[in-house]
Amino acid sequence: MTQHHPSAETEAHEAAADDRTMFGFWVYLMTDLLMFAVLFAVYAVLRNSTAGGPDGAELFSPTLALINTLLLLTSSFTIGIALLAARNGLKQQALVWFGLTFLLGTAFLGVELYEFYEIMHEGYNLRTSAFLSSFFVLVGTHGVHITSGLLWLGVTMYYVAKRGLNRSMVRKLSLLSLFWHFLDIVWIFIFTVVYLMAFV
């Protein structure tokens, strides 16, 4: 498609596509944020509806939540570095930092699953009470997002390794990093609303 055109026109065409995609992705993030807003509102309404079961203070471990917060914040940092490297065309460096992000994300997911396992091990699950329903669904939805982020990250790394860093790949990586930062922000709210408030 590029052969027929003067490169300035192609450049303008691509820049417009970048601009559009980026904008559209922001709008998508807003819709996703609204889904989370519903889940947060539901959690806020139901957090005291324990139906005779345990409440947050009994079940949550502040240590695990803190570890997870640190893991995710660090991964936000590493994906930032990775994107800078990608924008400068440094393929190897980018892959290393993206790889590190992937590991941190996986670790986060592991800790989260461990936490769920612990709660269920004590005999409670999302059927126990409205409080636990909303807890599992809110935190679980975030976890599902992290999982899809990891999948996206893995697949993109594979294609970067195979095809190198062309323009459309860098565009995809920018979206991915936006998505990752977005999940980080949502987690900050989860950390505050779910975990910290349980111990107030």
Binding site: L46, R127, V137, V155
Partner: protein
């Protein structure tokens, strides 16, 4: 093993009642008919490459119209069944069981809102918005076809209960909890509803994101926001509202689904759940939804009033501010749907006042239209008649709405037929008439010939008469104390006459719809005479009229430069510039949207019947298709400048050749001529003369 393979499906799930058997037979027969037709005429490949996989928003728009028209008939049959039952069931059981009656009105609501109104609105936006803003395609053509096919998957899903399961939700169109929970609705009906709305709702969100991107980022050079045509403005407001509330619907339906499938306690009466929260959440989506449908319609009216009054729209900026005002306030009034739930006097009055405030921006729009008509040379074409019908009906709906916004009054009228009559006045008048007006107005751009005016007028008047005959008795019944959704009532109430009148009105509306179909067929028969050779049959003002009819696949051979509002009208005054052709980039067609939607449907079906392997595999398939699609390079092709020029010339030549043998037979045919033409054609067919 059996449970693993087919989940909860059993022999009992197969059709065994008269209505499910009828539905299934109809479904299978029409499927066979379509397959036979396509095979006989060897059209499979044509259908697949030209239509189904197309990313052209104009073709997608037409496909939206077709599906929505089909669903309009489907939902219309429901209405007649409802009113027939109510006309019969005075002191008796009527011909429907209570359960069946409830399923019908639930399906009626879901179908009319999600698959008729939404489909028609999206069809219109797909077709017209890119043409109005001078764009060749959409920001993400793939997202658009995906959105459309998800809508189709939802439409199929809502009809699936005929074949598997035999029951639809009997909960009312919003599936209010705890009635929709597993405890009170143990069957698959509510699951079908959840997944139908879920799948099509995701399609709506995708479509809305795409149109926001398109309208904000792809306008022709020079078209600033305040030079945009008002239909585009209405669509933009509507789409912004859609992305603001459809995620709420998705989240809420997921929570309801978790309650039913995983046994969580969000909206249950036990385990600390809160059913009132469901009512809040669903109406936070539900109320704005009405305005999502209405705002593009308002935009249509602005275009039509301006064109047929031969004047630019009056108070353009107020009109825009009015639409934005409606969008903002509409997000803040949801609680008026349940004043009776007991939020307290303060909360109720706040929402009551907010509701009444909406009347102000709406009136601003009305004044803008009146001022446009003032001293204009008004032509009473069919689109204009639809507009006038809208004014009459919508005024009634608006006034009864302001009445209902007063909490003490609402306590009397809540859930009565008065309310039913109110929202049908607003939605039929405001949404449906707007779309019909728009279809009449833009039909030349869609098909290349305009619609028959004479039969069009009959259709408008029949619709208006039918509407008042059907809904006036409902207003009266509501004031007499009839609640909505009654499958039978006491003979001593004296309601039967009114219900019968409503049924008669419904039948008149059926005649009106039939007339609309006749209008299209008659226009097709006379298309040589009705042909739109200029591309500008109404002396239009906006850019869509600057391109030939029907619009070419790339919309604009040359992207126009916009300097004023009513850009095309100005161009006509100043003389059109000589075209200087450049290469055009167009997106490739893709079947990925269809594939994903098929699997999305299977995911839903798997969850409805708890077939684990089906939904797991289908989800995986969706992920794989998405990855493949995303990382496929080069999804555009280029039409070189010379080819564009050649295509444009060939097209003009063809058009000339076509017009050289015009058919000036009289005027638009009337019903008599239509019937006699059809009969003589059929006679010829039987006699083998053709």
């Amino acid at each position: 093993m059996k449970e693993f393979l087919i989940g909860n499906l059993t022999g009992k799930s197969l059709p065994h009642e008269w209505h499910t058997i009828l539905g299934t037979v109809t479904f299978v027969l029409s499927l066979i008919a379509v397959v036979a037709f396509l095979t006989y005429t060897k059209r499979w490949k044509w259908l697949w490459t030209e239509w189904l996989t197309s990313v052209d928003p104009k073709k997608i728009g037409i496909m939206y119209f077709l599906v929505a028209a089909f669903m309009l008939v489907r939902g219309g049959i429901d209405v007649i069944m409802i009113w027939l039952q109510q006309a019969l069931a005075s002191g008796s059981d009527g011909y429907l069981s209570a359960q069946h009656f409830q399923e019908i009105f639930t399906a009626h609501g879901n179908i009319m809102v999600f698959f008729v109104a939404m489909g028609l609105i999206f069809g219109l936006i797909n077709f017209i918005v890119p043409l109005q803003i001078g764009a060749r395609d959409l920001a993400s053509p793939f997202m658009n076809t995906l959105g459309f096919w998800l809508y189709v998957a939802g439409a199929v899903m809502i009809n699936m209960f005929f074949i598997f399961g035999g029951e639809y939700a009997a909960t009312g169109w919003l599936a209010v909890a705890p009635l929709s929970g597993k405890e009170f609705s143990p069957g698959v009906g509510v699951d079908y509803m959840i997944w139908s709305l879920q799948i099509s709702g995701v399609g709506t969100t995708l479509g809305a994101i795409n149109f926001i991107m398109t309208i904000l980022k792809m306008r022709a050079p020079g078209m600033s926001l305040l030079k945009m045509p008002l239909f585009t403005w209405g669509s933009l407001c509507s789409m912004v509202m859609a992305v603001s509330v459809f995620p709420l619907l998705t989240a809420t339906l997921f929570l309801l689904f978790f309650d039913r499938y995983l046994g969580t306690h969000f909206f249950t009466t036990s385990g600390g759940g809160n059913p009132m929260m469901y009512t809040n959440l669903i109406w936070m989506w539900g109320h704005p939804e009405v305005y999502i449908l209405m705002l593009p319609s308002f935009g249509v009216f602005s275009e039509i009033v301006s064109t047929f009054s031969r004047k630019p729209i009056a108070f353009y900026k107020s009109n825009v501010v009015g639409m934005i005002g409606i969008s903002v306030v509409a997000l803040l009034v949801w609680l008026h749907h349940f004043f009776t739930m007991g939020a307290g006097a303060e909360v109720n009055s706040a929402f009551g006042v907010a509701t009444m405030i909406i009347a102000i921006p709406t009136t601003v729009l009305l004044f803008s239209w009146i001022a446009t008509m003032y001293k204009g040379k008004i032509q009473f074409t069919t689109p204009m008649l639809w507009f006038l019908g809208f004014v009459a009906i919508f005024a009634l709906g608006g006034i009864s709405g302001v009445l209902l916004a007063i909490p003490p009054v609402d306590f009397q009228l809540h859930n009565s037929l008065f309310l039913v009559a109110h929202f049908h006045s607003t939605v039929i008048g405001g949404v449906l008439f707007g779309i019909f007006a728009g279809l009449n107005y833009w039909f030349p751009k869609i098909a290349g010939f305009r619609l028959n005016e004479r039969i069009g007028r009959y259709a408008v008047w029949t619709w208006i008469v039918g509407f008042f005959v059907a809904f006036t008795p409902l207003y009266i019944l509501g004031l007499m104390g009839a609640t909505r959704r009654l499958d039978k009532y006491d003979d001593g109430n004296g309601w039967q006459g009114f219900y019968t009148m409503a049924l008669v009105g419904g039948l008149i509306i059926c005649v009106a719809v039939a007339l609309q179909v006749v209008q299209i067929i008659a226009s097709y028969m006379q298309k040589r005479r009705l042909i739109d050779e200029s591309g500008d049959p109404w002396n239009g003002r906006t850019l869509e009229w600057s391109v030939p009819s029907p619009a070419p696949s790339y919309n604009f051979a040359v992207i126009p430069k916009v300097t004023t509002r009513d850009a095309f009208y100005e161009m006509k005054l100043r003389g059109l510039p000589k075209p200087h052709y450049k290469a055009i980039h167009m997106p490739h067609d893709t079947p990925a949207g269809i594939y994903i939607s098929v699997f999305a449907f299977l995911v839903g079906f798997g969850f409805v019947w708890n077939i684990i392997w089906l939904y797991v595999l289908s989800l995986l398939a969706i992920i794989i298709i998405l990855i493949n699609k995303t990382f496929k390079e080069d999804s555009e092709y280029t039409i070189p400048a010379e080819v564009v020029e050649k295509m444009e010339t060939v097209r003009a030549e063809k058009m000339k050749a076509f017009i050289r043998t015009p058919d000036y037979s009289k005027e638009d045919m009337g019903l008599k001529e239509f019937v006699s033409t059809v009969f003589s054609w059929a006679w010829g067919l039987v006699g083998g003369k053709r």
